[in-house]
C-alpha cells in the first residue's frame, strides 16, 4: 500500500504503455495506465467505471486497450493472435448481429433504457471480449474465469465464497434496482416496460439465489444416488448371505452326506436362478400377487428342500392366483408331497398348464404305484384332502395308479375369468 493521497499525481513511469500483470482486476489496463501516468490506480478505475456508466464508452475503451496493449513483459498483443482466430471472429460477428437485432427490436418497441445505451461501444465490447476470451494467454484466462465464476454460477472450490457472494450481490442489486425503476416509472398502458422490469427483477433473484438452488439440487441428487447405491449393495449382500453363503456353509458342514449336498445345491441353484432370471427374491413370494407359475415353483423348491427328491416343475402359461387357484396349488402341493413320500421315485414331475377356461396340474411319479380301490389308511388323507379341496371349488381330481409303474394325479380347476398370459416359469 502506498501511503500517499490518492489524488496527488505520483511519478510517471517510462517506456511504452503495458498492461499490468500483478495489480490487475480484469485486464490490468487501469493499473497499466496508472503506472504510466502516475495517477493512483483507484482513481483510474473510478474514471473507467464512471465512463462506463455514463455512456458505455469506458467499457469499449477498456476492452480495446485490453486487446491492443500487450501485457507487461510481452511484445505481442492479443489482437495479433485474434486476427488468425477464424472461429473467434465468426463468433464475435454472430453475437454482434444478434445484438443488432435486439437493438432494432428495442428501438421499435421504444424500450427507453435499452435505447439510452450507446450501441457501438456495446458491440465493440462484446466482440472484443469474445476475442480476448478465446485468445488471451492462460494466466489471463484464469483471471477471467475467476471473474466470471460468481456470475455464471458454480465454481469448484469454496475458498473465495465471501467475495463471490458480495460481487454477485452487487450485480443482483443493480439489476433489481434498474428493474424496479423500470417497473415504477413505466407507463401502465404500455406493456413492454413493465415486462422488462419484471424480467430484470427475476434475473436479479435468479442471479442471487440460482447458484444456491442449483447446489442444493445437485447435492440432493448426489446424496440420493449414493443412498440408492448403498441400499442396493446392502440388499445384494443380504440376499447373497441369506442364500448362497448359508448354503455353502451348510454344504461344508455336511460334506460327508452326498445326498444332502446334492439337495442343498439343487435348492440353491433354483433359488439363484429364479432370482437372476425372474428377478424374484428368494422367499419373497407373498400370498398376494402370487402367480400360478411362481406358486408351482414354490412347491418345487419347498418339496425338494424338505424331502430331498427332485421335482421337475414345468408351467405353460400363467395367471394371477385367486382363491380357487390357491386351493388348486394347495392340492397340487399335497399330491407332490405324497408322491415324494410314498412312491419311492427319484423324480416327480409337476406340470401345470393355464388354459383360457381352466387350469390343469399333473403330478406324476414313476414309483411303486398303488391300487386306488384298496387305498391303505395312510394314503386316504391324500385322496380326501385333495378330492375335497378341489370339489369344494368346483374342480376335479383324478388319481390314476398302476402297481409297479407309477401314479399320476390330475387336478383341474375352472377359471373364473381373465386372459391367458405368457408364463414366467
Amino acid at each position: 500500500m502506498r501511503r500517499r493521497s490518492r489524488w496527488r499525481r505520483g511519478p510517471r513511469g517510462s517506456g511504452p504503455l503495458r498492461r499490468a500483470r500483478d495489480d490487475r482486476l480484469a485486464g490490468g489496463v487501469a493499473a497499466g495506465l496508472a503506472n504510466r501516468t502516475g495517477f493512483d490506480v483507484t482513481v483510474v478505475r473510478f474514471a473507467f467505471v464512471l465512463a462506463a456508466l455514463v455512456s458505455g464508452v469506458g467499457v469499449a475503451f477498456y476492452v480495446l486497450a485490453w486487446l491492443l496493449v500487450p501485457a507487461a513483459g510481452q511484445r505481442a498483443n492479443i489482437a495479433s493472435k485474434a486476427v488468425t482466430d477464424r472461429r473467434g471472429i465468426a463468433l464475435a460477428a454472430g453475437l454482434s448481429s444478434v445484438l443488432i437485432v435486439v437493438l432494432l427490436i428495442a428501438s421499435v418497441l421504444r424500450v427507453g433504457w435499452l435505447g439510452t445505451l450507446a450501441w457501438p461501444p456495446v458491440l465493440i465490447s462484446v466482440a472484443g471480449m469474445v476475442l480476448i476470451w478465446r485468445n488471451a494467454p492462460a494466466d489471463e484466462q484464469a483471471t477471467m474465469r475467476r471473474l466470471a465464476e460468481p456470475l455464471l454460477g458454480l465454481p469448484a472450490g469454496g475458498s473465495r465464497s465471501a467475495s463471490r457472494i458480495v460481487l454477485r450481490g452487487c450485480v443482483a442489486i443493480l439489476l433489481l434496482c434498474s428493474g424496479l425503476i423500470t417497473l415504477l416509472t413505466g407507463h401502465p398502458s404500455h406493456l413492454v416496460r413493465p415486462l422488462g422490469g419484471v424480467a430484470l427483477v427475476i434475473a436479479a433473484i435468479l442471479l442471487m439465489l440460482g447458484p444456491w438452488w442449483l447446489r442444493i439440487g445437485r447435492d440432493l441428487v448426489a446424496e440420493r444416488q449414493a443412498r440408492i447405491r448403498a441400499e442396493e449393495r446392502a440388499e445384494m449382500a443380504a440376499r447373497v448371505h441369506d442364500s448362497v453363503l448359508q448354503t455353502l456353509a451348510l454344504i461344508q458342514r455336511r460334506s460327508a452326506d452326498p445326498q444332502q449336498v446334492v439337495r442343498l445345491a439343487r435348492a440353491q441353484e433354483r433359488e439363484l436362478r429364479s432370482w437372476l432370471f425372474d428377478g424374484r427374491a428368494p422367499g419373497s413370494l407373498g400370498a398376494s400377487g402370487l402367480t400360478l407359475a411362481a406358486g408351482v415353483r414354490l412347491i418345487e423348491q419347498e418339496v425338494e428342500a424338505q424331502h430331498g427328491v427332485a421335482v421337475e416343475a414345468i408351467t405353460v402359461g400363467d395367471c394371477e392366483v385367486d382363491e380357487n387357484l390357491s386351493a388348486l396349488l394347495a392340492a397340487a402341493r399335497e399330491a407332490t408331497v405324497n408322491a415324494v413320500k410314498w412312491s419311492g421315485a427319484q423324480v416327480v414331475s409337476l406340470f401345470a398348464e393355464v388354459e383360457p377356461t381352466e387350469v390343469s396340474v399333473f403330478v406324476r411319479d414313476r414309483g411303486r404305484g398303488f391300487d386306488p380301490d384298496a387305498v391303505p389308511g395312510d394314503r386316504k388323507g391324500l385322496a380326501e384332502s385333495v378330492h375335497a379341496r378341489m370339489a369344494r371349488r368346483g374342480g376335479s381330481a383324478t388319481i390314476r395308479s398302476v402297481r409297479g409303474e407309477g401314479t399320476e394325479v390330475t387336478l383341474t380347476m375352472p377359471r373364473a375369468a381373465g386372459e391367458r398370459q405368457p408364463s414366467r416359469a
Binding site: 432370471f277 414345468i314 405353460v316 414331475s349 406340470f351 398348464e353 386372459e419 391367458r420 405368457p422
Partner: protein, 227 residues
C-alpha cells in the same frame, strides 16, 4: 426322463464332442458317458469349438446354451453351414426359455437339462446320432408356451405358412405328455399310437420350431426377455 431305450445302431459308438465353459462339467459328462460313446474332443468357447468341430467332424455335439464368447447358437449356425452332418444336442443349466428356443431354432436337435442322469444322457446322444430329436419335459413346456402364447399375441403380419405356425392338436397332446414326464413308449400307449408315430410328431414340432418364420416367435422371446 422321457427318453426310452435308444434306436442307435448296435455296436457303433457315436462320436461325441463336448462344448462347455466349465472344465469340471466337461469332465463330469465325459465320465458319465463312459464307454458308451466315443468322446473325440472338447472346447470351452465359441471360437475353439467351431475350429475343432470342423476338424473332428463328430456325430453329436453336446452344446452348452451359454458360452462366454456368445450363445451356443453361434456354434450351431457356423457348423451347420459347413458341416450339415454334425448334429447338436443342447445341454444346459439355464432356465431362460428364449435362449433354449434360440439354440433349437438355429438347428439343435434337442435340449436336455444338466441334471439328466448318465444313462438318459447316453440314450439322448444315441437318439440324436440316429437322426431323432430329444425333447426334455422342460423343452416341451417351453415350446407349448411359445406356440400357445402366439394366438393371444395376435395381430401383426400374417405369416407365410400358417401350417408352420401352429401345432396340431395331436402334437400338442404329445408335447403335453412329454412335459408331464411320460416316455415316448408311455405316450404311445396312452394315445394308442406307435412309438414311431410319437417320434414323427416330435420331429414335426422341431421342424416347425426351426422353420417357422413367424415374427411372433421372435416377439414371444422379446416379450419374455422384458418380463
Amino acid at each position: 426322463m422321457s427318453t426310452p431305450a435308444g434306436s442307435a445302431p448296435g455296436g457303433v459308438r457315436p462320436r461325441v464332442f463336448i462344448v462347455d465353459d466349465h472344465g469340471l462339467f466337461r469332465a463330469g459328462v465325459r465320465s458319465e458317458l463312459g464307454d458308451e460313446v466315443d468322446v473325440v474332443g472338447e472346447a470351452d468357447d465359441v471360437e475353439p469349438a467351431i475350429t475343432r468341430i470342423a476338424e473332428c467332424q463328430p456325430d453329436v455335439v453336446l452344446l452348452d446354451v451359454h458360452l462366454p464368447g456368445g450363445g451356443g447358437q453361434a456354434v450351431v449356425t457356423a457348423i451347420r453351414a459347413s458341416h450339415p452332418g454334425v448334429r447338436f444336442l443342447a445341454l444346459s443349466a439355464s432356465d431362460a426359455p428364449e435362449d433354449v428356443i434360440a439354440v433349437i431354432r438355429s438347428g439343435a436337435r434337442g435340449y436336455v437339462t444338466k441334471t439328466i442322469s448318465g444313462a438318459d444322457l447316453v440314450d439322448a446322444v444315441r437318439r440324436v446320432a440316429a437322426g431323432d430329436s430329444v425333447f426334455s419335459p422342460r423343452l416341451a413346456g417351453f415350446v407349448l408356451d411359445a406356440f400357445a402364447a402366439l394366438p393371444a399375441a395376435g395381430g401383426g403380419r400374417p405369416s407365410f405358412d400358417p401350417e408352420l405356425d401352429q401345432l396340431t392338436p395331436r402334437e400338442r397332446e404329445v408335447l403335453r405328455l412329454i412335459a408331464r414326464g411320460y416316455t415316448y413308449r408311455e405316450i404311445a400307449r396312452e394315445l394308442y399310437i406307435s412309438v414311431k408315430t410319437v417320434e414323427s410328431h416330435v420331429s414335426s414340432v422341431l421342424r416347425k420350431l426351426q422353420l417357422s418364420t413367424r415374427h411372433q416367435l421372435t416377439r414371444w422371446a422379446t416379450e419374455r426377455r422384458l418380463t
